[in-house]
Symmetry: C2
Subunit: 336 residues, 2 copies
């Protein structure tokens, strides 16, 4: 098994990426190896610094780098020698099984679809971040922003793809699928979700009904399917609210001597809270529905987060998720 | 000025509602009076208990009550003698200027549209909760769930309605309008938001561009307009995330003796945090775009929250918001 690494992508690249590779290498199975794509000098000096000389590590020089603000389609078309495009090409050619990148999300999604290509029958690949739940588990949200204006069948496929991921990569048996909706009752929804509901009822997944946005992190669902616009609103408002609350809490705790002392004593609790909200342990977000493995690590990934994204890539490949998605999509009845 | 009160609606009705009326009466202007609609015995005993005998309080017996789980359309059609329908009728007849209800949201929205009716030219009335921001201010979110599958022009009107409310009721000069979107850049969006963006550019409001979900509470926007499905996802995920974080924090603080002591000392900070997140001070959510005032108080409103919803109704009427909306909508160019 070979995992292609985009060394130049992400806020902390290339240093944290290469160090993350070094951390992952000791945890990966012995049959797993890494191919690092990046600027030659950076590769040389960083692999030396982090002791990454191994017969399980291959270095490939790439002369270009795609920035996080570049237009995705243009960047993919024009920067053929970028670390991202080279890494995508290696997956497309079957030389690597999965790519891990913390870089430009749009470029990774566009590039994956253009270069690695969709699985036969898959209408739209979906980006699927893994979120921590209140009960200590995880919930997969897809699509979180790769596709707007989805058709009902796309969400039906998202359900199959999400179920495959949670079952094979996270180890959840018979994952409960929720449909993001504006009410819990079956008849609620907009045109899209009203059409998706009966479709999911007749899909071979464990459909657990509508999921209101406030129930996303409840632990009642293992997968939540949504149009990418709505999934994006959901994901970003969870992130935004958590960040606002942390900042308000900090301000309040620093407002008096008494509360400062209290805060110092309660510090382990705040650390525990941060840990329960920390998604770096869960790795990045897989792009499901393409022919090879694609893991989008968070842009701000530190060493540990990037390491976890690599370990997630290993589980994605060992779980044979792309093949399971291909089979389950092929088994769906023909579209009307 | 007369405010119609649905005494029987809400989790804490009728007691908290009547007590809220008593609290509000001393704060309202002398020209403001209340008409309470509810079951006769409850009205008699509660107004006596809370000392609500005044020439500014009128009691109207209503023989029926609409429960929070009843089908809105059916309830409005069949329960003509319910406190809600009677109160709506009094606004429609011009006997009262505004209704305040903490009851069945769907029934209030349906009833307001069917009985009070839309302002001429308004395509869809919008439910507009007021949320606290990180910077201590407020942001109005509309629509938060009254309308799914919105057309671009609906959101254009939401912008005008939201601007009128924030200016006249909250006192924000030249309110900054944000468009809920999946990216900050002008070209981002789904079919709907891509069509709304240029429309808002050409609407006489202070359009501040796209608002990503994570920026909703940032304080950078005074009004956020959205399709009701997306607004509902946004609102409920903010509520859900805040509640999950509070519960995780509580669990963490109770996990050891040390953190318990810390928590006791830091208690004023947690109270301050709760206060900054508390939306009861801001009152309820106005339904904007109908001919009279409609305030939806939170279903779980306590005495103080209901009191604030009544004071909000007073500001809504004094601000002449419905008339301003009527004028600004009439001034829009004809639809193509």
């Amino acid at each position: 098994m070979k995992i292609a690494i985009d060394v130049m992508g992400g806020d902390n690249a290339p240093d944290a990426v290469v160090e993350g590779c070094a951390m992952a290498l000791s945890k990966l199975g012995q049959d797993a190896s890494l191919v690092l794509f990046g600027e030659e000098r950076a590769l040389q000096s960083l692999t030396a610094r982090f002791g990454l000389a191994s017969d399980r590590v291959e270095l490939v020089a790439a002369g270009q780098r795609i920035g996080c603000d570049e237009s995705p389609t243009q960047a993919i078309r024009q920067k053929k020698d970028s670390s991202l495009v080279r890494a995508l090409n290696s997956v497309a050619a079957g030389e690597a099984d999965c790519i891990v990148s913390a870089g430009n999300t749009g470029a990774l999604l566009t590039g994956a679809t253009l270069i690695i290509k969709r699985i036969d029958g898959v209408k739209r690949p979906a980006l699927a971040p893994v979120l921590p739940t209140k009960t200590g588990g995880h919930v997969l949200l897809l699509d979180s922003g790769a596709n707007t204006d989805c058709k009902p069948q796309y969400l039906q496929q998202f359900a199959l793809m999400g179920a495959a991921y949670m079952e094979k990569v996270v180890g959840v048996k018979n994952p409960r699928i929720g449909l993001l909706n504006n009410g819990a009752e079956a008849e609620k929804g907009n045109e899209l979700t009203k059409a998706v509901y009966p479709l999911l009822k007749n899909t071979p997944v464990n459909f657990a009904g509508n999921c209101e946005a406030r129930e996303t992190l409840s632990g009642d669902f293992d997968v939540v399917v949504a149009d990418g616009f709505d999934g994006n609103v959901l994901l970003k408002s969870i992130e935004g609210t958590a960040s606002v609350m942390m900042s308000l809490l900090k301000d309040a705790l620093f407002s008096s001597v008494r509360t400062k002392i209290g805060a110092a004593l309660a510090k382990p609790a705040f650390r525990a809270l941060k840990r329960s909200l920390d998604y770096t342990e869960a790795g990045g977000a897989p792009l499901l529905g393409v022919r090879g493995g694609v893991i989008k690590a968070h842009g701000s990934s530190n060493v540990k987060a990037f390491c976890h994204a690599i370990l997630q890539a290993e589980r994605l490949i060992r779980g044979n998720v792309a093949q399971i998605i291909a089979d389950s999509v092929a088994a769906l009845p023909e579209e009307d």
